[in-house]
């Protein structure tokens, strides 16, 4: 909405990007932030990783189910967008959710993050059902997401965008802000420090004071990830984060996703690009026409006949 033309537009697909046909964004820059001048500790990747995920030591139950969908069904009128889908996301893994166009990936995503209410079935997160929880409360419970079409707050700077994410954990309301209580001041200080660490983590800290709408497309995608991480999620859901990326940007993104997982986050990844999905995920769930057709390790998915049929179609002679 505020991302301007280009973000997620069909006009800007991978080929355009690769051919350098991306538009020159002729915007006076707000200047480059000297990261080391703000906090010398931000030069050290270890310290940055520590600041990004302060609660990672607590995440010990690796391999346990973090999120579980049980018979998840979403209907829009007569259309069944998601039909009895059950799978689980385990702590500390990167789960890929793939499928051809219109398979229901984003619908599944929206049902998990509370944008759609499931028509049947339920989503269990951390052992609790998510059924009646409001969207902002789901974020507080620990599910954060990015958007397929970038939806940053365009008039805010990159840092302010991230700080909105950190605010999900803050308690200050109007009285606290008016009287500048001690908690408010502490939260504000933490938010700026953590926000800068997050921007450094995704690699755009020098652009911290730039308005989000003036960032380049790739930086906007990174900023979305930083903003989602700022909410201190247990589960990070990435909706086609590599859309519109050229191969080198894609491999940088793969590194970033791995780095996020290594920092103690669980990641759910929707992606079209097979190479990226196969390269980065631990396990893959495949959807087709709203149904789950496979749930396996990447190597096994690659050999799975149902998946191959879904992506490439079935030769005529095989149908008989």
């Amino acid at each position: 909405m505020t991302a301007g033309p280009g973000a997620g537009d069909a006009m800007f697909d991978n080929e355009d990007m690769a051919a350098n046909l991306a538009p020159e964004v002729d915007v006076p820059t707000a200047g480059v932030v000297d990261v080391a001048a703000i906090d010398p500790a931000l030069v050290d990747p270890e310290a940055v990783a520590e600041a990004v995920a302060p609660q990672r030591e607590i995440e010990t139950a690796e391999g346990q189910a973090l999120l579980k969908t049980e018979g998840l069904t979403v209907r829009f009128g007569g259309l069944v967008a998601l039909d009895d889908v059950s799978f689980e996301i385990r702590r500390g893994e990167i789960l890929g959710l793939i499928g051809p166009n219109g398979a229901g990936k984003t619908t599944c995503f929206n049902a998990i993050t509370g944008v759609y209410k499931p028509s049947a079935g339920r989503v269990m997160f951390d052992g609790e059902p998510l059924a009646k929880t409001k969207r902002n409360e789901i974020t507080r419970l620990g599910i954060a997401r990015t958007f397929q079409n970038i939806r940053l707050f365009g008039e805010m700077t990159a840092l302010e965008n991230v700080v909105v994410g950190t605010d999900a954990r803050h308690r200050t309301s109007v009285p606290g802000a008016i009287f500048r209580t001690r908690r408010h001041r502490r939260e504000e200080r933490d938010a700026v420090a953590r926000g800068m660490a997050l921007l450094e983590f995704v690699g755009i800290a020098p652009r911290a004071v730039e308005k989000a709408k003036n960032l380049s497309y790739g930086d906007q995608r990174r900023l979305e990830i930083a903003r989602a991480l700022a909410t201190e999620p247990k589960l990070l859901c990435l909706d086609e984060p590599a859309a519109g990326f050229n191969p080198s940007e894609k491999s940088a993104l793969m590194d970033l996703i791995r780095k996020i997982r290594d920092d103690g986050f669980t990641v759910l990844l929707i992606e079209h690009d097979m190479r990226l999905v196969m390269g980065v995920t631990d396990r893959i769930v495949v959807l087709e026409f709203g149904k789950k057709i496979a749930d396996d390790l990447p190597a096994a998915i690659r050999e799975n006949p149902a998946v191959i049929a879904a992506y490439l179609g079935v030769p005529d002679d095989a149908i008989a």
């Binding site: 820059t29 480059v32 932030v33 003036n214």
Partner: protein
Amino acid sequence: MSTENPAAAQPDPTELLRGPQPDKHGVGDAIRSWWNGLARPMQWLFGVPVIALIAILPVWRPPILDTPGTDFGGVMAQFAMYALIAIGLNVVVGQAGLLDLGYVGFYAVGAYTVALLTSPNSPWNKMTESGFFSEDWAWLSCLPIAVAITAFTGLILGTPTLRLRGDYLAIVTLGFGEIVRLLADNLTDVTNGGQGLSQIAYPHLGETEDKPYGVFSAGNTGGNLNSGVWWFWVGMVMVIIALLLVGNLERSRVGRAWVAIREDEDAAEIMGVPTFKFKLWAFTIGASIGGLSGALYAGQVQFINPTGFNVINSMLFLCAVVIGGQGNKLGVIVGAFIIVYLPNRAMSIEIGGQSLGDYKYLFFGLALVVLMIFRPQGLFPARQKLLAYGRQIYQAVRRPSDAPGTGPAPSGATTEVGG
């Protein structure tokens, strides 16, 4: 659009592909960057004299600024009230992006609260011989009551309606503004209907031989130091307090939530912003500032009736916010000044047997249309600071030494297009 400019004559096909447009830079930005570059003591050194200068304007009455058709002190008092309104409405419209077309309703509630509690025409007159509701103190005691009641009104109106968005919210608030005026007009037993409420309380300060009712009395009309000037000073104090409080809110979780809601409400909610709660807060805070302004108005004119709260006033208030620059709390004060000052300044000029000041709706309508074409962000576009401790970040900004616009190219874009 413009045919004089040869470059604009031929449409540039790459124009559509440009993506984000550069922000326009103007006087406001120049002042802002100069101001931000100053150290705190220097800001005080410049700020205090400027405020003092504004304060003595109506006493000094420089001939270029004076309003020949009407009393300049009274105009400045009205300006202070409109400035308060603009600050309050700016919270609702400029920051949270909730289009409120019935803001005059809150102004009316504030004014009527003071009037109903202190006017002899009112059945709810609470005036007593001594104590908080004595003649001397009644107006001041009514002030917090008026603010609380308007805040409550905002809460009552907001709770059901803030589930609506955009145009629907605008229509409902428009209705609210009318409802308040119609109630004031028709509840004759309480509000005295169209005849209004008179002899409203005001601070009885500075009672002397030649000013038997004090400096704040509407009867204090003589000279450069008349009641209008005194009310302007009271209004200025309130404007400064409101600015400080609203500024504190802006640079906090609350202000960020408002801007996030304005930018993309769904995304904000998914990022953990309790959108309904903060929209309600914006509405309530906006309402209470509007009520404060209404209470000031009631005290100054010491007589109110429903015609002062026509819905067209809501449009004027909104006009002040839009002209000044939505989201810029200092800009909207300039907007309020324009809205109040220009019609009064033109009062003495007559065209076709009518004072030019009476054409104000025509001119402000035209001004809005022109503004929307050439500068939709208002005269002083917002450049909000949303972080309480953002200063240290901005101090670490290193600008490229060459001209702006030639900064580091965004990644993935090296080809020069356009030009």
